[in-house]
Amino acid sequence: MRHGKYPFIIGFLAVPVALYATFVVAAYIQTFQLSMTSWSGFGAIKFVGADNFVKLWNDELFWKSLRHNGYLLLLLPIVTIALALVFAFLLNVGGGSKGGVTRGVWGSKFYRVIFFFPQLMALAIVAVIFGRVFASDKSGMLNGLFPDSWSPWLFLADERWALTCILVVLVWQAVGFYVVLFSAGMGSIGEEIYEAAALDGASRITLFFKITLPLLWNTIQTGWVYLGIAAFDAFALINIMTVDRGGPDGATSVLAMMIYRNTFEYSQVGYASALGVVLFFLTLTFAALTLRVTRRDAV
């Protein structure tokens, strides 16, 4: 009955596996191999052992970039998830109950549609828009809104604030997605749980912390991992928005930017690969840690 099973299996798997092996698996394996060489992208490949990693350890820009990734990694999930939770809660249970049915506030569907839209836009296009929003003269949206008596804010041109501008843009884009995600989660929490709690006289704040938050924990955890991975990237924003792509004076440099520049601008493919390897282990550690630390028994 299982006639011709193997030819079928091979026929179906051949193309996808070949594509995946050629462009993804091979590229990743080569990253690990090249991280031990001093290859420039041309000529012979010379094995240098752990030299790249020693060099990396002593590279000031590497530690700086790592701190910037850490800053985004810490704040992007916290700010985004906090805002998204509040908005999702207001949309879903904010309206209180009438006739025994908990409803969202008036117009909640409309808000959800608006909030979600930025998620659909390419990060590159968002970067171009916000590059202008944060422009350091009167042509910028924010400086234009400020009173004329203020001297213009530098935003991206200010070492102290440039990275925060990047964070703001990332949050701006991400919040709506998590509002929708958490809304879906809240929708699946049974009405009767809220009603029972409301009957017991629980205020909305109590409802939020004692019922909504614990029941949404798994979704929040997934969101945390996704946002963390996004924080390791941010390449499009940094490459398009910032002064000198990673500046001013390295103030917005991140690992992704270093990998790109070392590969395509400084002809240091070996070094870039070593950075890639470090990045790989960092991402993996982060995902494993998040899942472990935030693990709770199923409610």
Partner: protein
């Protein structure tokens, strides 16, 4: 962050008193609306500002009244964005690439997922985990090797190269998601079709694919959006002689942004941005529900 404070003051648990309860709900509701309207403005504001600025002259843009109406609504900036700044070409390039890459991703992704989900054979698990492990690797960690692999194959700066790479990098999630989906489909129909003498291939295309429609729609949307918005991969692949002709929209916009800085042609940049956002708004308005479902599908599992 002021919106974080838009929650009512805490109250102690008391027996519900209708009058008090009503006042409380009213106060809460208005605070809720203030917070929500605030975020709606924060979301839509920059987009509206881009639209307004696309009709303004440089002088008007530098006036410091970002939300003032433009003095005239001439479409000249749009013509120059479409023609001289080549937004039209970049747009069509993106359409062309995403059409083929998403079709390819769906075809090959569902073929692999189906076989891995429903057939037992030696190496099944190994292949499955090989695909899924791709989810854990950040794309940009292997930029250099990817570039040289493509160069050695002569695929740099070609649509075929870009499309194949899009497909390859979309496979992990597509296979992961669809394999889980194919597993849930009932086995009875499968067996009945086998008894009736349907071949494996026919079973896949005529029975399994239609049954998996909802999953396929979600993941198709996910891939269209992801590939349409891709910036890093085209940046790496579409470089070299004559590459500008083949740039996709994200690359094109980024470049117009740099050019606008040199030539101070800000309104053209804003017109270009508007032109690239409007199609998204239209598509979003029509398929709003499916798009939300498709994009969140990954996180819900």
């Amino acid at each position: 962050m002021s919106n974080l404070t838009a929650t009512p003051p805490a109250k102690t648990a008391v027996a519900p008193q209708t009058a008090k309860k009503h006042r409380e709900i009213k106060a809460f509701n208005s605070l809720a609306h203030i917070a929500l309207v605030f975020w709606a403005l924060v979301t839509a504001g920059p987009l509206l500002w881009v639209l307004l600025a696309s009709f303004k002259s440089n002088t008007e843009i530098f006036l410091g009244e970002p939300f003032a109406l433009p003095s005239s609504f001439s479409l000249d900036t749009y013509f120059s964005a479409w023609d001289q700044a080549h937004i039209g070409r970049y747009f069509l390039n993106s359409v062309f690439v995403v059409l083929f890459s998403t079709a390819g991703t769906m075809l090959f992704g569902s073929m692999a997922a189906y076989v891995l989900a429903r057939y037992r054979f030696f190496g099944n698990r190994i292949l499955y985990y090989l695909f899924v492990s791709g989810l854990a690797f950040p794309t940009f960690m292997a930029l250099g090797p990817l570039y040289y692999i493509l160069r050695n194959m002569g695929l740099l700066n070609s649509y075929i190269g870009l499309i194949l790479v899009y497909i390859a990098y979309s496979l992990p999630f597509t296979v992961f998601f669809l394999a889980a989906f194919f597993k849930t489909l009932p086995h009875e129909i499968d067996e009945a079709a086998t008894v009736d003498g349907a071949s494996h291939t026919r079973k896949f295309f005529q029975i399994m694919m239609p049954m998996a429609k909802s999953g396929l729609v979600s993941i198709t949307i996910f891939n269209i959006v992801g590939q349409w918005n891709q910036y890093l991969l085209p940046l790496v692949i579409m470089q070299g002689q004559g590459a500008e002709e083949k740039w996709v929209l994200t690359q094109g916009i980024a470049n117009i942004s740099t050019q606008a800085g040199y030539h101070a042609e800000w309104s053209t940049l804003f017109a270009a941005l508007t032109l690239s956002i409007i199609p998204m708004i239209i598509v979003y308005a029509v398929f709003q529900r499916q798009i939300q479902a498709g994009l969140t599908a990954g996180a819900v599992k």
